[in-house]
């Protein structure tokens, strides 16, 4: 029964990793930009949530409705003002610029909020749980986080394959030059993609901040989890990122059970194993 509990925990935390990954996969898919600042933007979202809850005195989970539009606006502005200028045939400029952005965000947060670790208080829901079966308990907050992750990824999948915006994303990703001939302004399409990515990050950042302590330096590790989930899942489908997140979460949970020091190592080993056996990921992008 203990192992069942552990695997369930792993699956539920996998939802959070999947949300980290979905934002990354979206940006890479649409504009071939690897966003090194992704993890720090997740932490930024956590601090935006912290300021929102502190000033308005509202529940963190309610604050999501405020943090999401703020982060989306930051994403749009960031893409229009900075990242669009780095895109081109060379993949190096966007890597360098987002790396620099990562350093800037970390240090700005350090100046503003100090290195003290913080946490969002969500009240009774943090410790609430219910029994699923004899000896198997499910935490309400992890379950909620997982359900939200599934909803977010399902919504992204629908948006990508069933809406005009998704069509514009796919067309621009296929051939930016011809997309312009269809009347699509690439700068605007890319900015909308970044806004969407940061909206997903906002949701992930709030759940991260309720679940665990955070400080300005934890961004890069979240980036790694997101990367690993993307690569495990493959770039063929948004559902792949969910599978990737779950595999990463379960591996970490199993590793931690064997030896608390093995939690991160187990996740990286699972990632390396899949990279070795299936380098294209579990749900590869098929060229039709």
């Amino acid at each position: 029964m203990e192992w069942v509990n552990i695997i369930i925990q792993g699956v539920l935390i996998g939802g959070l990793y999947a949300m980290f990954a979905a934002g990354l996969a979206l940006i890479f898919g649409v504009m071939r930009l690897v966003n090194i600042a992704h993890g720090d933007l997740i932490v930024l979202a956590a601090y935006v949530a912290l300021m929102t809850t502190d000033t308005l005195g509202i529940d963190p989970l309610v604050a999501i409705v405020i943090v999401v539009p703020i982060m989306a606006a930051i994403g749009y502005a960031l893409q229009r003002a900075l990242l669009n200028r780095t895109l081109g045939d060379d993949v190096l400029p966007p890597l360098l610029v987002t790396f620099g952005l990562s350093v800037i965000i970390q240090n700005a947060l350090l100046e503003l909020f100090t290195a003290d670790s913080r946490r969002l208080k969500a009240g009774a829901i943090e410790v609430a749980s219910f029994p699923l079966a004899e000896g198997v308990w499910i935490g309400v907050l992890p379950l909620l986080q997982f359900v939200v992750a599934v909803a977010v990824i399902g919504a992204l999948q629908l948006l990508f394959y069933r809406t005009a915006l998704g069509r514009a994303f796919r067309a621009t990703s296929d051939d930016p030059g011809v997309a312009q001939l269809m009347g699509l302004d690439n700068r605007h399409v890319f900015a909308l993609a970044m806004a969407l990515s940061l909206a997903v990050i906002a949701v992930a950042g709030v759940f991260l901040a309720v679940r665990t302590n955070f400080d300005p330096a934890i961004g890069p590790a979240r980036l790694i989890f997101g990367f690993e989930a993307v690569i495990i899942g493959g770039l063929g489908s948004m559902w792949g990122t969910l599978a990737g997140g779950i595999i990463l979460g379960v591996s970490q949970a199993i590793g931690a059970q064997i030896d608390p020091g093995w939690q991160l190592l187990a996740g990286h080993l699972a990632f390396l194993l899949i990279l070795a056996v299936r380098p294209e990921g579990l749900f590869p992008k098929v060229q039709r």
């Binding site: 005009a164 069509r167 514009a168 796919r170 067309a171 990703s173 296929d174 051939d175 030059g177 011809v178 997309a179 312009q180 001939l181 269809m182 009347g183 699509l184 302004d185 690439n186 060229q287 039709r288």
Partner: protein, 233 residues
């Protein structure tokens, strides 16, 4: 009558390389203009400049009297100029119908809509939900034409629509052009297939190494004059 399109002393560059030297050309409403010339003569470059895919001097391209030389492609298509790019370049991740829909995403009013495109190219209606890459070359060219028409252009630029197609398919595609002109759309067709171009066009321009070597009404040009302009005498 005012010209729909006027290209005035257009120069075009790729970096330091100059591809067009003072090219001038006019297209009247309802006219079909053919641009012929050897490989590398600058035909595609000329179309890209008109469509805004390559920026040029502001007053080098006038559309309906307005200078649009410095406008980006997405703004030019909104004004009513659509380009069928060389090699078709359909969006592989999109189905046939999605390719057509995205061509009409600006919502410019006009005669062309999904049902009208399927009327023009009935074979596409049967394959509307298939991936665009699963079609034959001729059918892909029809999608590329339909995609450009969906923006309801007043001027349609066709870059080598016969490229890589069997002669019978080329004739089939060219047979639809009069129906497009009949809806009030002017055409500029770039072609290497001179016979096809001379048959379809009212007016012909021949480019040679980035300059206009010859121009005139399609009926008045002799074969000797064309071959001299084509290859350089």
């Amino acid at each position: 009558m005012r010209d729909l399109l006027e290209v005035r002393a257009l120069d075009a560059f790729y970096g330091d390389f100059q591809a067009l030297f003072g090219v001038s050309l006019t297209v009247a409403p309802g006219e079909v203009v053919a641009v012929i010339g050897a490989n590398g003569a600058g035909k595609s470059t000329l179309l890209k400049c008109i469509a805004g895919a390559i920026a040029s001097r502001r007053d080098a391209v006038l559309f309906d009297g307005a200078p649009i030389g410095d406008q980006p492609a997405h703004a030019v298509v909104a004004r009513g100029i659509a380009l069928v790019p060389e090699g078709r370049r359909l969006f592989p991740s999109l189905s046939v119908e999605e390719n057509l829909i995205i061509g009409g995403q600006l919502g410019r009013p006009g005669p062309w809509s999904l049902p009208r495109i399927y009327e023009l190219f009935p074979v596409l209606a049967e394959r509307r939900h298939m991936p665009s890459t699963s079609l034959s070359g001729g059918q892909q060219q029809m999608v590329a034409l339909g995609r450009a028409l969906m923006s309801n252009p007043r001027l349609l630029l066709c870059d080598e629509i016969s490229l890589g197609l069997a002669p019978i398919v080329v004739r089939e595609v060219y047979a639809r052009l009069p129906a497009i002109v009949a809806e009030g759309c002017s055409l500029v067709i770039v072609e290497q297939d001179i016979v096809q171009a001379l048959k379809a066009a009212n007016h012909v321009y021949c480019l040679q190494e980035g300059r206009v070597a010859l121009s005139g009404l399609a009926g008045t040009l002799t074969r000797a004059a064309i071959s001299a302009a084509y290859f350089g005498a």
